[in-house]
Symmetry: C2
Subunit: 336 residues, 2 copies
């Protein structure tokens, strides 16, 4: 049998458990050009929630479908010349224990040292998003000040560490004192601002903590945090737009006030990117990320939940900011 | 005597005549390092209103001061080694018939063919803002689609014409059918969208008029027009942020919704600039603009009001969009 988690209804407000439904399906058969995989790991990403808002860089997803999710599976049946039995592939597998996948939308996981989870975290979308979105969009130079929001998350925790490796002063923005202390003490951030601390609003603390102004802001959140960062930018500052997690869950909210005016008076550059725009540079990213991890300069932080049933609660919790580092679901043991 | 227009009060909402007051002052005396000028021309710019909102790239201006304004004056007294009697200089002269100006904040108008008004329009801040903000910020290439807002204004009318010279398809956005017809018939725009036409909202017409998507959007307005343009951008489109006139007059309004999310999904780059950032390229700008005007490829559109008393109404009307091309005040005849 094939446990699958379907979308029962699209959320009107915050994502909730009753938007999903666990069903028992059949294990699919491969058609020509397809493989069937046993799901090993599923990635959990804020973008999963954004896909429920409508078509963007990919098709929207809707009620009655298996919930979409990137992941890693082991080939158990093949009608593809590209993949053989036992291959580990990455693809949009969805929240299910078995999936039929078209060969054109799957990629073999190359051999690498380290646990398979690294193919989702350090060497997966999270690591490459952090690397390309910092190094190849705004760039970062020694002596500059880098601010990153959702700093304890899968991407932010790597962005901040790359900033330190490159010689920048790194200030994180995260929710809660515990996360902030952890970022400074364990991951080597120079400072971290708690955006949930109502006694010290971010719009005040950011200027006090960074009197020199922000050279590069890596935005994972949008909303009020982006607003505060815009006011703290240095002249000619650069903003890398990675996503707007504050806008994905719940009702649409007005965007930051005064963006075009602030871009003019401070001569800022704001640029959005998708990790796939830089796939021609993935080999660089993987090489550097692997080296930094091996040398201990970069700590790989993973938050692994067990079993397909954990997927809905895992994503709901991720949107509420409960994870540290890269959250994923271990659906079956690593076969290697 | 020296007619001066003072700021009586800063506007709480839309700028109005009673925010200003005409007074009779003395003709000032030059201190060491200063010149006194007779005002010839005053530039009228939406930015004048923005200066009343607070300090930005320059000090804020406030009640009890002569209203600030760039302009051209003739030196009638000099205690400066830099300027001699009869020199024409550009400086922040303000709304007054005579002004004392520090030599460090004034520049001599170089000799050029054509009327002196061109030093305010084609070869002034308007022309150079259009040139640098299009050529040196996003760039524009033959075959691309360029959209410019406030297209009938001082900057927009030149941006669109440069776009045509460079081989782009050019679509203006302006208020009212008359302006739109004029932009197409007189200035050679390929199309123009009337953002005031409630029977054909911009958010619908922009996509129909530009099914191919917008490569470059030159934003003079911010607000709802920027919002509509964001949705019409092509993947990897570029946005040049020149100003946000929709935000200058009246109460602050929420900015466009979803900017960071749209920048990500469409991989857009938005960049603000000030004309002074590109002063090292002013010679290029002046050379090309003069050539295009001389050859008839670029029409210089000026809207000249007469007498210092016209300044308040001129600026109020400009903020309401009544001008075509570069609005300025002729305070005294061209002495050349």
């Amino acid at each position: 049998m094939n446990k699958q988690i379907m979308i029962r209804s699209l959320p009107q407000g915050n994502l909730a458990h009753d938007n999903f439904e666990l069903v028992q399906g059949e294990i699919p058969k491969a058609q020509t050009g397809q493989v069937v995989v046993r799901t090993i790991l599923l990635s959990q990403d804020a973008a999963n929630r954004a896909w429920m808002q409508g078509a963007t860089y990919r098709d929207a997803i809707g009620a009655g479908e298996v919930m979409s999710s990137g992941g890693i599976g082991e080939v158990i049946e093949t009608k593809s010349d590209k993949f053989k039995l036992g291959d580990l592939i990455s693809a949009d597998i969805g929240w299910q224990e078995y999936a039929a996948v078209n060969e054109s939308s799957a990629a073999k996981i190359p051999d690498f040292d380290g646990p398979l989870t690294h193919a989702i975290s350090l060497l997966g979308v999270a690591g490459k998003t952090a690397y390309h979105g910092l190094i190849n969009v705004p760039g970062i130079h020694a002596g500059e000040t880098l601010v990153v929001s959702a700093a304890a998350g899968s991407v932010g925790s790597i962005v901040g560490q790359i900033g330190k490796i490159k010689g920048a002063r790194v200030v994180g923005i995260a929710g809660g004192k515990e996360k902030c202390d952890w970022l400074v003490q364990e991951l080597g951030f120079d400072a971290c601002l708690d955006y949930k601390d109502e006694s010290a609003p971010l719009r005040h603390t950011i200027g006090k903590t960074i009197p020199e102004g922000v050279d590069v802001y890596f935005d994972n959140t949008g909303g009020d945090i982006l607003q505060a960062a815009l006011f703290a930018m240095k002249l000619k500052g650069r903003i890398s737009c990675c996503g707007a997690v504050s806008m994905y869950d719940g009702k649409p909210k007005p965007g930051p006030f005064g963006i075009p005016g602030l871009l003019v008076t401070k001569r800022l550059r704001m640029e959005g990117f998708l990790v796939s725009d830089y796939s021609h540079l993935d080999a660089d990213a993987n090489h550097n990320l692997s080296q930094w991890a091996a040398s201990g300069q970069l700590k790989v932080v993973e938050d692994v939940l067990q079993g397909i049933e954990a997927a809905p609660g895992g994503l709901i919790g991720l949107l509420a900011g409960e994870n540290r580092g890269k959250r994923m679901i271990q659906v079956a043991p690593d076969p290697r």
